[in-house]
């Protein structure tokens, strides 16, 4: 069973999103996603200033056996990326929701947040897919 914090929103591609007080959002991949990928060996991070549209590839997470795109859950501009992942990608395995965050975005259209799932809906989606 994977951990699904109640205070986050989720995408169908297993990204999580946390809204910050300053209006920015933090994006990472879920505990379920990191378990499915296995031990991560590399993360290709976005650069600050990059403007993304929902569904664009934002980052790439790579394990020994798989590489997977991390998609932008909503439109926005990248303002920061988790530089610690460059040397210690395993932070995503050990702490997917805290130390293993991937990028900070300034949302282009905050109303898009409403299209994302809450924890309950995400849990249901995982259950339906047999996870």
């Amino acid at each position: 069973m994977s951990d699904i914090p109640g205070n986050l929103r989720f995408s169908v591609n297993h990204e999580w999103v946390r809204e910050e007080d300053d209006g920015s959002i933090i994006v990472g991949i879920t505990d379920h996603a990191q378990q499915a990928l296995g031990e991560l060996v590399f993360v290709e991070l976005p650069e600050a200033g990059q403007v993304v549209t929902e569904g664009d590839a934002l980052a790439v997470v790579e394990s020994v056996k798989a590489a997977s795109d991390v998609y932008a859950p909503i439109d926005g501009e990248v303002t920061d990326a988790n530089a610690a992942l460059a040397d210690t990608p395993e932070l995503i395995n050990s702490s997917p929701y805290e130390d293993g965050w991937i990028a900070r975005l300034q949302p282009g259209d905050p109303t898009q947040m409403e299209q994302l799932m809450d924890a309950e809906a995400y849990e249901l989606m995982l259950a339906e897919s047999g996870a």
């Binding site: 060996v41 590399f42 290709e44 790579e62 394990s63 020994v64 056996k65 798989a66 590489a67 795109d69």
Partner: protein, 454 residues
């Protein structure tokens, strides 16, 4: 039955276990209208002795010739141990080393190969090889476009002094992805630096340069590299790896070195064999490693903490990344790399340097001899182990006349470089003896004396 070990008794027992009466029943799922009785137009089978005899006859018809052709494939002496070892069944008949524990021989050998290529080219990392020099160049162009994110350009500057077929192959492979190769003109046998300077304001992902160039001449690689980097372009170096024992390695070009090196590995112990199989090498700086196509072997440890080797960074490759892979390439030229690694081990850096230097000396001797003949002149004074000579008449009939005398006189440049006139690219490697070089001179004199100036 060649290569099939089954006895009648075996077949009967196997069919019984499967639960069919004849082997024909095993093909029932092929719709009846698609089934044929056998292939048409295939000759009857031959015994090993018969096929060997046939091959001997065919090969004999090709004749005994002494070759002075280079143009991207070079005749060098290959020590006996190279192919004796490379064709050991354990190398020859092994598959790609996916089961690492059962493939440590191949994996360690590739690691040693990668180490040798990084040292020869002066760059940080090498892959396990690509198909050949031309396709390696195309892959290097694709890699540069992926890697140069700051530029984002889908154009690569190349040069008319680059092997014309390399440029053609790159065009075949790149054009479907909308990547464009822009040719710089040639001046004095090398890239026209003025024309390069005129491009300074334009956006290109990379500049590629061949050293020595196709015409045998030596490029100003330091200037080209520094200018490219100043303009935000990557540098792709295309080099003959054998000559890198004597020539400045791409990693030392200019202030910060070329970013990607690639080229034809054939000179490192691979027979000419009508054009293949050869292998393409590729090395690059560490920061670009995840953009590199092809297999890569890494050293790690096993569960008992003993050193061992395994394929690594596989997530870049087609079998995992599918449509987002760095390339569709699956194979490396494993057997060729096996031979090349053995070749480099036997020769060492001193041996390779001696061969390179002798190639230069032999070519100089040949050029001196030929350009002393009436109607022959040397086009460019500076060259390494190939040089352009000009005749006072069309090249093709002269080459034909030489070929009738058992001498392959060089590569006719008139198709790819008509602007050079009656130009011929000649090469004398260390495999050519002083007598053979002298014989070429004598034949050329005779041929030119007998035929008319057009």
């Amino acid at each position: 039955m060649p290569f099939i070990p089954h006895t009648e008794e075996d077949v009967a027992a196997m069919l019984e276990l499967i639960g069919v009466k004849t082997t024909d029943e095993l093909f029932q799922e092929i719709p009846a209208n698609l089934r044929i009785a056998g292939p048409d137009g295939i000759p009857a089978g031959l015994t090993e002795a018969e096929v060997s005899q046939l091959a001997q006859q065919r090969a004999a018809g090709d004749g005994d010739v002494v070759s002075f052709i280079g143009a991207g494939a070079y005749e060098h002496y290959i020590p006996a141990a190279v192919w004796d070892l490379a064709t050991r069944g354990e190398f020859y008949s092994a598959y790609t080393p996916y089961q690492a524990e059962a493939s440590q021989g191949t994996l360690q050998l590739i690691y040693e190969y990668q180490s040798m290529m990084t040292s020869l080219t002066g760059l940080d990392v090498s892959n396990a090889s690509l198909y050949d020099g031309a396709s390696a160049y195309a892959e290097a162009c694709l890699m540069a476009v992926r890697a140069n994110r700051k530029s984002g350009s889908r154009r690569i500057l190349t040069t008319g002094a680059m092997h014309p077929v390399y440029r053609a192959v790159a065009n075949t492979i790149l054009s479907n992805q909308g990547i464009e190769l822009v040719d710089l003109p040639v001046a004095g046998g090398v890239t026209d630096l003025g024309a390069l300077a005129a491009m300074d304001g334009e956006d290109f992902a990379a500049v590629s340069v061949q050293q020595p160039g196709f015409l045998g001449t030596l490029e100003a690689v330091d200037d080209i590299t520094d200018r490219a980097h100043a303009a935000g372009r990557l540098v792709i170096a295309v080099c003959n790896p054998l000559l890198l024992a004597a020539l400045k390695p791409p990693g030392s070009w200019g202030e910060s070195g070329a970013d990607i090196a690639c080229g034809e590995g054939q000179p490192l112990g691979i027979p000419l064999s009508s054009g293949g199989p050869y292998f393409g090498y590729m090395t690059c700086s560490k920061s670009l490693v995840r953009q590199m196509p092809g297999r890569i072997v890494g050293r790690t440890v096993d569960v008992e903490d003993r050193p061992g080797f395994t394929l690594t960074l596989q997530a870049r490759e087609q079998h995992i990344r599918r449509s987002k892979a760095t390339s569709n390439i699956c194979t490396n030229q494993g057997l060729m790399v096996t031979a090349a690694t053995i070749y480099m081990s036997l020769l060492g850096s001193e041996g390779l340097r001696r061969i390179a230097a002798r190639c230069h000396a032999n070519t100089r001797q040949l050029v001196t001899l030929l350009s002393g003949i009436d109607g022959v002149s040397l086009l460019y004074d500076s060259y390494f182990h190939e040089a352009v000579i000009c005749l006072d008449r069309p090249v093709a009939p002269v080459l034909e006349a030489l070929s009738r005398r058992g001498i392959l006189g060089g590569y006719d440049l008139s198709e790819h470089y008509p602007e050079l006139g009656n130009a011929l690219l000649v090469c004398a490697t260390e495999a050519r003896s002083a007598q053979e070089i002298a014989a070429y001179g004598a034949c050329m004199q005779e041929v030119l004396a007998k035929t008319q100036v057009a």
